[in-house]
């Protein structure tokens, strides 16, 4: 066993930002290492030195397929979730140029959302479905939006900010019935909840390695057998001629291992991790007044909570938490680099009193109960301090501000 200095250092940091990225599992690093050193062959080579690597690559593909209950043939390796999502939408669009309409939602990740202008420019109409206050879709609205011209529905499996899970099974069935392709961005869902593509009629599914304890720089696009799609990167014959370029072997091996581990830990994610999340959430709601959970609390990933802390600003909150070695994230405008707060929380109609003070805490199987206890001890004091500085203590302050 290799001694991981960085891994031991992690006890200092309380990492509750696992929807942003996750720690690479030590087993994953170990599985990858030989492919940087001894086993550096090219999987496409004709000699056995490359052939051995090819066989390991295919084993990794099988492990990914096992986690998703699909065929290894249907797994295409990419560089990240964003590439997969671009591949899915453009690949289908180019395969069916006669159809000029796609449907998505207002709460998608930028990997989908920011593709919309690209489609607009090419005369492809895009419908963005609304969500309610709890972040849920209206399936009647979806049904009404489908026309003869509709080629594709793209809808995330679970939302990265709130953790709200969409009824992907029902959407997939509806798409199938109406003869429309269905892509789901499952970046946040894979490894956290059970996904069985044997039973779920989705045509395309994207995810990335670094959200499930594999490293950054590797992703997957699942393409159901028989789906007509155009290649995204044109080059060699790799990945069934759909994605040229020599395979990123060590990372793909790492992803294979991470998927194997994810399958083993799926029960933990939905029990131990969920229990810690619930303890954290209940503790915050009980100890800090004027707080509420953003998003539906039942149809939700087991590891995520998004809490609106009224009358404080999220970036100031994160800075203070960071000082205590606690990593979290916020939907506040100030933390994003853009000036607008989270498009997800705005689409849900969360009021501004809460939106700028939204705190996303996302756990992993590496978090411990003592870490949760520490956060519960530290957070109320930070909020108190920021509220003491704030000119707003209640709604009345907000409405009267600037009228003096």
């Amino acid at each position: 066993m290799i001694h991981w200095k960085w891994w031991n250092m992690k006890d200092k940091t309380i990492y509750l930002d696992n929807n942003a990225t996750t720690a690479v599992a030590p087993e994953v690093v170990e599985a990858m290492l030989p492919f940087f050193t001894d086993s550096y062959g090219n999987p496409s080579s004709m000699h056995n030195f490359g052939g051995r690597v090819h066989r390991e690559l295919e084993k990794a593909r099988e492990k990914v397929a096992q986690l998703l209950s699909c065929e290894p043939y249907e797994i295409i390796f990419t560089s990240c979730g964003t590439e997969s999502a671009n591949f899915a939408l453009r690949g289908i669009m180019e395969a069916y140029p006669e159809k000029r309409h796609i449907i998505t939602t207002k709460v998608e990740h930028p990997c989908i959302k920011n593709q919309i202008p690209w489609f607009d420019e090419r005369g492809v109409r895009v419908t963005e479905l609304r969500v309610d206050r709890k972040g849920r879709l209206d399936l009647d609205e979806l049904s009404a939006a489908i026309t003869k011209n509709t080629l594709l529905i793209s809808c995330m499996y679970a939302n990265n900010e709130t953790g709200v899970i969409f009824p992907v099974d029902r959407i997939a069935s509806m798409a199938r019935e109406r003869g429309v392709y269905f892509h789901t961005d499952a970046v946040q869902a894979v490894g956290k909840i059970k996904i069985s593509l044997k039973d779920l009629p989705v045509d395309l599914l994207s995810f990335s390695g670094h959200k499930l304890h594999a490293p950054k720089g590797v992703g997957v696009l699942y393409v159901r057998r028989g789906t007509k799609i155009r290649p995204f990167i044109i080059g060699g014959h790799q990945e069934r001629n759909l994605r040229g370029g020599t395979e990123n072997v060590p990372y793909i091996i790492g992803l294979g291992k991470a998927c194997e581990l994810a399958a083993e830990h799926l029960f933990d994610e939905n029990n131990q991790v969920k229990k810690l999340r619930d303890k954290l959430e209940k503790g915050i709601l009980a100890s800090i007044p004027n707080t509420e959970v953003n998003g539906h609390t039942e149809d939700r990933l087991p590891n995520t909570t998004n809490i609106g802390i009224h009358f404080v600003e999220g970036e100031a909150l994160l800075l203070a938490l960071s000082k205590e070695n606690i990593c979290a994230s916020t939907g506040s405008a100030c933390a994003s680099g853009s000036l607008q707060p989270s498009h997800v929380l705005r689409a849900m109609g969360i009021p501004f009193t809460s939106i700028h003070g939204s705190l996303r805490l996302s756990l992993s199987r590496y978090n411990t109960e003592s870490e949760i206890d520490q956060v519960l001890e530290i957070l109320p004091g930070i909020v108190d301090k920021l509220r003491a500085i704030s000119p707003f203590k209640n709604l009345e302050d907000v409405t009267h501000f600037g009228t003096e």
């Binding site: 707060p341 704030s390 907000v398």
Partner: protein, 280 residues
């Protein structure tokens, strides 16, 4: 993560003068919770001096630090002195702010301006930001404010305007309108409108400034490419220099002289300067 200076972090972690002065002589309230930041500044004024200043802020780290810095800067000063404080002074006091966070310093300067207007008894009506036509509907920014901030901070691009006022940072529909305003603000740029910014220099002052600009601004750039430059003489507005190293005999040396050396000297010292290469 933003790259905040130690001073910003210090003022964020240990904000000075937090609170609200009761029966304050001057109150400035700017921003709103919808915009993501708001500042309430209260002042006690005695014998024409700021006897006390307190603030309350809803906002990010740099908004808190900017407000805290402002109160430190104005306490004990006369109204006349305080009037001259700009957002740039707040930025300097803090040792710099990330460019996307300049609007935090602008909020500080605006709260001060509003408080002083309040003291003069002008109240809201005189708020220069509420006058004019709203350009950015997302953040409620008027054309007057964009013009004022552009002039005060020498802003030439829409991105800079967004960093300083937030205008254009929301839906983006007003970006063309902001560009048109900037075009209008700077349309007289080359006709001497900005000349007054540079003070009239004595000959000795001019020589010293030229030397400083050459050493601090120009030579480091030339040194990077293995070149160098020496000041030979100054005759009236004619600056005579000699080029060394890779600059010497380089076919682009004329370009270096006119494009870099002369441009920098004109920009930083005097518009009428001319740079020539020493012959022989």
């Amino acid at each position: 993560m933003w790259d905040y200076t130690d001073k910003v972090m210090d003022h964020y972690e240990h904000p000075r003068n937090v609170g609200e002065i009761e029966n304050a002589d001057a109150v400035g309230e700017v921003g709103s919770i919808a915009c993501g930041d708001a500042l309430k500044l209260t002042l006690k004024i005695k014998d024409g001096k700021i006897a006390d200043a307190k603030f309350k802020t809803f906002g990010c780290g740099s908004a808190i630090a900017s407000a805290s810095a402002l109160t430190e800067m104005i306490k004990g000063k006369t109204i006349e002195e305080v009037k001259k404080i700009t957002n740039n002074d707040i930025v300097s006091f803090l040792g710099g702010l990330p460019k996307e966070k300049m609007h935090c310093s602008v909020m500080g300067a605006e709260a001060l301006e509003e408080a002083l207007a309040f003291y003069r008894g002008e109240k809201k009506v005189a708020d220069p930001d509420n006058v004019g036509e709203v350009v950015c509907k997302c953040f409620n920014v008027t054309d007057q404010k964009i013009r004022r901030v552009a002039l005060a901070n020498n802003l030439h691009t829409v991105e800079e305007i967004t960093n300083y006022t937030k205008a254009g940072g929301g839906c983006g529909l007003c970006v063309d309108q902001i560009q048109a305003l900037l075009d209008d603000v700077w349309k007289n740029e080359n006709t001497g409108k900005r000349e007054h910014v540079k003070p009239k220099l004595s000959f000795l002052q001019k020589v010293k400034m030229i030397e400083k600009v050459i050493n601090d601004e120009i030579r480091p750039i030339l040194n990077r490419d293995g070149g160098d430059l020496e000041l030979v003489d100054i005759q009236g507005n004619k600056v005579v220099v000699r080029l060394f190293g890779t600059c010497q005999g380089c076919h682009a040396s004329q370009l270096t002289l006119s494009g870099l050396v002369e441009h920098k000297l004109k920009e930083l010292v005097d518009d009428s300067l001319e740079v020539v290469e020493h012959e022989g």
